[in-house]
Subunit: 416 residues, 2 copies
């Protein structure tokens, strides 16, 4: 048996980030930027007003007060989207709305509330305005380039794109972005006992679960699942499906990796490339296949395709996907980090560790009123009991060298 | 000014969960189940083997040991997906693979490792098998209904669907699920100064950011954004866009809600329904419009459509969406909880609170090696500086009644 970290390191050493693609900005949420974007404009482009008020010369209003207001002549009104035509000269002011460019000559903005601005005044465009307060140079002025200056770095290659990044890129006028493209992931279940949901279930058969749970896990991470179906336990059936996967970025199979001789997956995929079957020191999920396929000797594929073989038990499949599949996809998508989010929690139930493997126990994490986390096992831990996975929001870890964690122990939990 | 909680309560009192829709299972990730699903089958359907081994009668192997193995006659081989034909009678065994149904008569499974099973043996189907260990009744047998029993509740209405729930539903044979449908959200920006990204930028104009940041925020939550474009500061332009939104579940506008008289949004939408402009006790994001539209008096819409009017500044728009928009969408989508995930962190920078509002400071949350969180402000906090939003992963909160939080203070942070 090999430790989890060693297996993960081997897996990731075979994975490289995918090629880049240029996509519409709104399709990039969650992806990693493959380009550094420097701004070709100032943001904001011009000095503009941060408030609705009057653009004035600060020196004109130095002595202003409610008792002795300064009276200025209004020379113009300006709103966002227009360019002021007149220069603010001594003892004049421009009525200005939020976002409007600051007129020449003005160096500060006094908000309406500190003037005698009113509806009546507004009707009469030749009127004067009384200013009640002094204001330092630059007050309420948002400077050109105050957010991003021309030439400045707005987005760095390797940044994860989210709504705010999408906003920043839009602010530069861009509608597209170059990202690490989404992995196309072929998903194959295997086993004569499996029937696709939606069909009737002959005696002795069960519904194929892993196609569904793994495809949705792939999609959630930003990959594109391609569901290829169920391979029967024959060489031909499995080969037929593998051949359909030759253009994908990753193949994920489930079942067919136990020691049983009914399981052909390992044998077939060894003919198709270099593959290892590892007994990983973890529970659930001990048998893990990983390798690279490139088709049969006489008809090689265009390029190597990594393959991850998950155990058949639905819980084991999801846990192995969590440990190995997520980091594979994240590395392919250009992420630099793929460690799961983990917290420390007080364990409320015991975790037994019978055979020195690392135990990943399905747990329901809760937060007490004082902010501390508790971890309660979500039910029976048999690797076929998927309902306890559905009730869990994390995996509580009992280390390899610990035979039992008692209630009250502090336990590390990886969150989904 | 009204407190954030009071405003949120008013908003949510006008929101009801949307109608239900039946969707393909793989399209349901992140949505809320609108149905309780009871299983019509046992999962697993039959008692089956948890290992590759031999199905035997426990009483036959009571005295087995490596020194004195029990020799049983192999009567059959069975694999997952087949039904055993023969009954295991005294001193016989069925070779059985993981997942295969337990043959009649057998009450326990002994794994290969505890027998003399070998490739040679396998070639000869009439052979005997030596069992080296005793086994209690039921060992390595997964009982029918051990995960879910016929009639048992598999998914409860109100459950959030994720990959494990999708797996559970697939295990019942279902390929569809009834969920609270995705909200269709019409998005309108307003302002003469705005230009859509991808077009050239005349002097005095800026690119429309909010359409992009808000549309991607809506999509991330599971809503379907409908981008309607930019309303000019004319009554007609705004009405034209609002009329296009009449079939949506929510309208989100941005800008047009400040006190300036160039802003028409408030005026127009008041003609179209009942709308409040609130001065919410928060920074950034003070002005917030909320109401319900139902078209002009002479041409009412089929039903009322809630409207959320965000401030025009891109940061304010995103913060107000975080505070009000997310809970609205979550309630529409059938969630019962919509509080943001929040943590306590040690503040590394000061937060000033000038005017008794609740300050939401853009912050970068990090975790120290001992697991504690720190919150560092992500840059200048001007509400037009979107780059500091892009660098943040949460909002550090300075309460209304606190004038300043010093570095070292413990601060509550809402995570994105």
């Amino acid at each position: 048996m090999i430790p989890v970290e060693e297996a993960l390191e081997k897996v990731l050493s075979a994975i490289t980030p995918l090629s880049h693609a240029t996509v519409p900005l709104l399709d990039s949420d969650g992806l990693i930027s493959a380009e550094t974007i420097n701004s070709s404009i100032n943001i904001p482009p011009l000095d503009n007003s941060g408030m609705d008020g009057y653009a004035v010369r600060s020196e004109d209003i130095k002595t202003s007060s409610y008792e002795k207001p300064t009276t200025l002549r209004i020379i113009e009104e300006t709103a966002a989207g227009t360019i002021p035509k007149k220069k603010v000269q001594s003892m004049t002011a421009t009525r200005i709305m939020t976002g409007a460019p600051i007129p020449n000559g003005a160096d500060t903005v006094v908000r309406f509330e500190d003037t005698n601005d009113s509806e009546r005044l507004r009707q009469n465009s030749n009127s004067n305005i009384n200013i009640y307060v002094p204001a330092k140079k630059g007050t309420a002025i948002r400077q050109a380039g105050g957010d991003i200056k021309i030439g400045e770095n707005a987005i760095t290659a390797g940044t994860e794109i989210g709504p705010a990044q999408i906003g920043v890129i839009a602010s530069l006028g861009n509608t597209k972005i170059k990202i690490f493209r989404r992995p196309k992931v072929s998903i194959i279940s295997s086993g004569n006992e499996l029937v696709s949901p939606g069909h009737s279930l002959p005696e002795g058969h069960i519904y194929d679960i892993n196609t569904y749970s793994i495809a949705s896990s792939v999609a959630r991470l930003g990959g594109t699942p391609e569901i290829l179906g169920i391979a029967k336990d024959t060489r031909k059936s499995l080969i037929d499906l593998l051949e359909k996967a030759k253009d994908s970025d990753l193949i994920i199979t489930s079942a067919g990796v136990s020691a049983g001789y009914y399981d052909l997956v390992k044998e077939v995929i060894q003919d198709y490339g270099s593959v290892d079957l590892w007994s990983v020191k973890m529970r659930p999920g001990k048998p893990v296949v990983f390798g690279e396929l490139q088709g049969p000797q006489n008809s090689k594929w265009p390029s190597k395709v990594p393959i991850l073989g998950l155990p058949g038990n639905p819980v084991s499949a999801m846990v192995v996907f969590h440990i190995f599949g997520k980091p594979i996809l994240k590395k392919m998508m250009g992420h630099k980090k793929w460690d799961p989010v983990s917290i420390e929690a007080t364990l409320l139930d015991p975790i037994e560790n019978e055979d020195g493997r690392r135990v990943y126990a399905r747990a329901l994490i809760d937060q007490t009123t004082n902010g501390e986390y508790t971890a309660k096992l979500s039910g029976p831990q048999g690797s076929n009991v998927l309902t306890t996975m559905a009730r869990a929001n994390g995996l509580a870890i009992c280390p390899e060298d610990t035979t039992r964690l008692d209630p009250g122990s502090i336990v590390r939990v990886e969150l989904f």
